[in-house]
C-alpha cells in the first residue's frame, strides 16, 4: 500500500498519516495502541489546522469527497477520536469504562 499524500498546505501532518483511518474501529485500535506523547503530538499538530482543513474540504460536497481528500478527512476524524483523552482525561489511565473492543461498532447505515 502506498502512503497517501497530503496537499502541500497540510504537509506537517504527514508524520501522522497512520491515523488516516476510515472506520471508528480502526481509529479506536490505533488510539489504544498509542502513548500519551503520541496522542499529544498528533493533537498539537492537527488541532490548530482544523479550521483551515474543514474550509479546504468543504470546497467540494461532502457526499462526493474526492479520494484524494479522504485521508485528510479521516485524519480529522482521528483527531476527534483522541480528543476525549487529550482534552478531558489528560492521562491514559483515567478513563474507567468497559474495554472499547467490547463495543462492537458498525459503520453501515443498515444495522
Amino acid at each position: 500500500m502506498t502512503v497517501a499524500t497530503l496537499p502541500e498546505a497540510f504537509k506537517s501532518l504527514m508524520p501522522f498519516m497512520a491515523w488516516a483511518l476510515p472506520t471508528e474501529r480502526e481509529r479506536t485500535i490505533k488510539r489504544l495502541a498509542s502513548s500519551m506523547d503520541e496522542l499529544n503530538s498528533f493533537y498539537a499538530t492537527a488541532m490548530p489546522q482544523l479550521e483551515t482543513i474543514v474550509a479546504f474540504l468543504d470546497r467540494e460536497p461532502l457526499e462526493q469527497m474526492s479520494a484524494a481528500n479522504k485521508p485528510l478527512m479521516n485524519l480529522m476524524l482521528s483527531l476527534v477520536e483522541i480528543s476525549n483523552i487529550v482534552e478531558l482525561y489528560k492521562r491514559l489511565d483515567k478513563f474507567d469504562g468497559m474495554h472499547p473492543s467490547r463495543f462492537v461498532s458498525y459503520e453501515q447505515h443498515h444495522s
Binding site: L62, M73, L88, F103
Partner: protein, 397 residues
C-alpha cells in the same frame, strides 16, 4: 433556568408509586427471568428495527429474538407492505433465512429442500410436489407475526391472541412524539455490547442522571442543570401507561472542550432537523419493556440515540446502541457529529462497566434491596410495571 429545585417533587406528582426500597431479587432470579419471557417479552410490542432498513420491495432483515426463542423475518413485499413472520420453514422447520439481511428477487427459498415462498409469505413452490400426500400449499405459508409501525420504528408482538394495537400500546409516548421527523435522521453508527448483566440492571443504570457528576466525572459531569452546582436534577418526569420519560435542561455553565467549541462553530449544516415534540433539552423515553429513545437538542440540529436491551439469560444481555443524526452536508458537521458520538460513547462505556459490576453485586445477595431517591423515580416505576406484568418476586433464601 426552568428546572425547579424543590426536593421530592416527583413523589408528590406520583404519590401512588410509594417511596420504599425496591427488591433486587427480580434481577437475579433465573425463575423470575423465565416468567419475564412469557409475561413481558411474549406479550408486549418489541422494537426490532426501522422501516428505512428495508426501503425497497423484496428487502428483508432478520431479528434473532432469543428471549422469545424465535427468529423473526421482517420483509417488504412486492406490494410494498412490510410484514413479519417466524423465520421458520413450513416443511420441516428449518431456519428459512440464515443471514441478517438481504433482498430477494420475488421469492425466498429454504436451503434444506428449496421450498419457496413469495414476498408475502405464501408458499409458492415445492420441489417434487407430486410425491407429497394431499399438500395444500395455500395453508402452508410462513407463520405471520403481528407487526406495527410507528414513526418509522418497526415493532412486533408475539402474542398471536393479543388485540391491542401498537399505537394504543405506546399510548402517551405515541402522543408526545407524534409526527417527530425521525425519518429525516440517518443512522451513523451502531454498537452491540455483550454484557454479563441482567437487562433491568442495565436499563436502571441508564434510567437516571443522579450518577452523572460522579460516575461520569471526567466525561459528562456538568451537561445538565445542577442543584447548587453539585447534583443533577430533572426538569420533568411523565409516567405513561407502562412507559415513562424524564427530561433535563442543559447547564448553561457546561464547560465545553476546545475541540467541542471549535466544531460547534464549524458545524455549518443547512439540514436543521428539529424535534419540536421534545419536552426538555434532553429526553429519555423508556418504551416498555426494552427500548429507550434519547432525544438531544443541539444548536444546529437535534438528534436521536436509541437503545435496545435484549436479554439472553438472567445475567446476560445484548445492549444495542444506535446513533441517528441529520445526514451531514459538510465536513464541519460530520466532525461535530463524530465528536458528540465519541463523547457519549465513552460515557456509555463507563456505564457498561458499571452494569456488570452492579449485577455481580446484586447476584452476591449481600443486599436484597436498593434505595432510590426522588429523581430515580423512573427506576421505581419501571420495576413496578415489570411486577404488574410478571407478579411479585419471591425472595430466594
Amino acid at each position: 433556568m426552568k428546572t425547579l429545585m424543590t426536593n421530592k417533587r416527583w413523589a408528590a406528582k406520583y404519590p401512588a408509586l410509594g417511596t420504599g426500597p425496591v427488591s433486587t431479587e427480580s434481577c437475579i432470579s433465573a425463575e423470575y427471568f423465565e416468567r419475564e419471557r412469557d409475561h413481558i417479552f411474549r406479550r408486549c410490542w418489541l422494537n426490532v428495527g426501522r422501516v428505512d432498513e428495508i426501503p425497497e420491495r423484496g428487502q428483508y432483515f432478520v431479528r434473532e429474538l432469543a428471549v422469545c426463542r424465535t427468529s423473526i423475518l421482517v420483509m417488504r413485499g412486492k406490494d410494498s407492505q412490510v410484514r413479519a413472520f417466524h423465520n421458520v420453514c413450513s416443511h420441516r422447520g428449518n431456519k428459512l433465512v440464515p443471514h441478517e439481511r438481504g433482498a430477494c428477487p420475488g421469492k425466498i427459498m429454504c436451503g434444506f429442500h428449496f421450498w419457496t415462498f413469495d414476498t408475502e409469505g405464501k408458499l409458492s413452490w415445492v420441489p417434487d410436489e407430486e410425491n407429497f400426500f394431499g399438500l395444500d400449499k395455500s395453508k402452508l405459508g410462513l407463520t405471520p407475526v403481528r407487526i406495527g409501525i410507528w414513526e418509522g420504528f418497526v415493532f412486533v408482538n408475539l402474542d398471536a391472541e393479543g388485540t391491542q394495537s401498537l399505537e394504543d400500546y405506546l399510548g402517551g409516548v405515541a402522543k408526545q412524539l407524534s409526527g417527530a421527523p425521525f425519518g429525516e435522521l440517518a443512522r451513523l453508527r451502531t454498537y452491540k455490547v455483550d454484557e454479563r448483566a441482567n437487562w433491568k440492571v442495565a436499563i436502571d443504570a441508564q434510567n437516571e442522571v443522579y450518577h452523572l457528576p460522579f460516575q461520569h466525572r471526567f466525561t459528562f459531569p456538568d451537561a445538565f442543570i445542577l442543584k447548587d452546582n453539585k447534583y443533577t436534577r430533572l426538569y420533568d418526569v411523565n409516567l405513561y401507561d407502562r412507559h415513562c420519560v424524564w427530561s433535563c435542561e442543559y447547564n448553561p455553565e457546561y464547560k465545553i472542550s476546545p475541540l467541542g467549541a471549535l466544531l460547534g462553530r464549524l458545524d455549518a449544516t443547512k439540514n436543521a432537523v428539529r424535534l419540536n415534540q421534545m419536552i426538555g433539552d434532553f429526553d429519555f423515553f423508556l418504551v416498555f419493556p426494552n427500548m429507550v429513545i434519547l432525544l438531544f437538542k443541539a444548536p444546529k440540529a437535534d438528534y436521536m440515540v436509541t437503545y435496545n436491551f435484549w436479554p439472553l439469560a438472567v445475567d446476560h444481555t445484548i445492549w444495542e446502541i444506535r446513533y441517528y443524526y441529520p445526514p451531514a452536508d459538510n465536513a464541519g458537521t460530520r466532525l461535530a457529529q463524530e465528536y458528540a458520538l465519541c463523547r457519549l460513547r465513552d460515557t456509555l462505556q463507563e456505564d457498561a462497566k458499571a452494569h456488570e459490576a452492579i449485577h455481580a453485586g446484586l447476584a452476591s445477595r449481600a443486599k436484597r434491596e436498593i434505595h432510590l431517591q426522588d429523581d430515580e423515580i423512573c427506576i421505581r416505576y419501571f420495576h413496578k410495571v415489570v411486577e404488574d406484568h410478571v407478579g411479585a418476586v419471591e425472595l430466594a433464601r
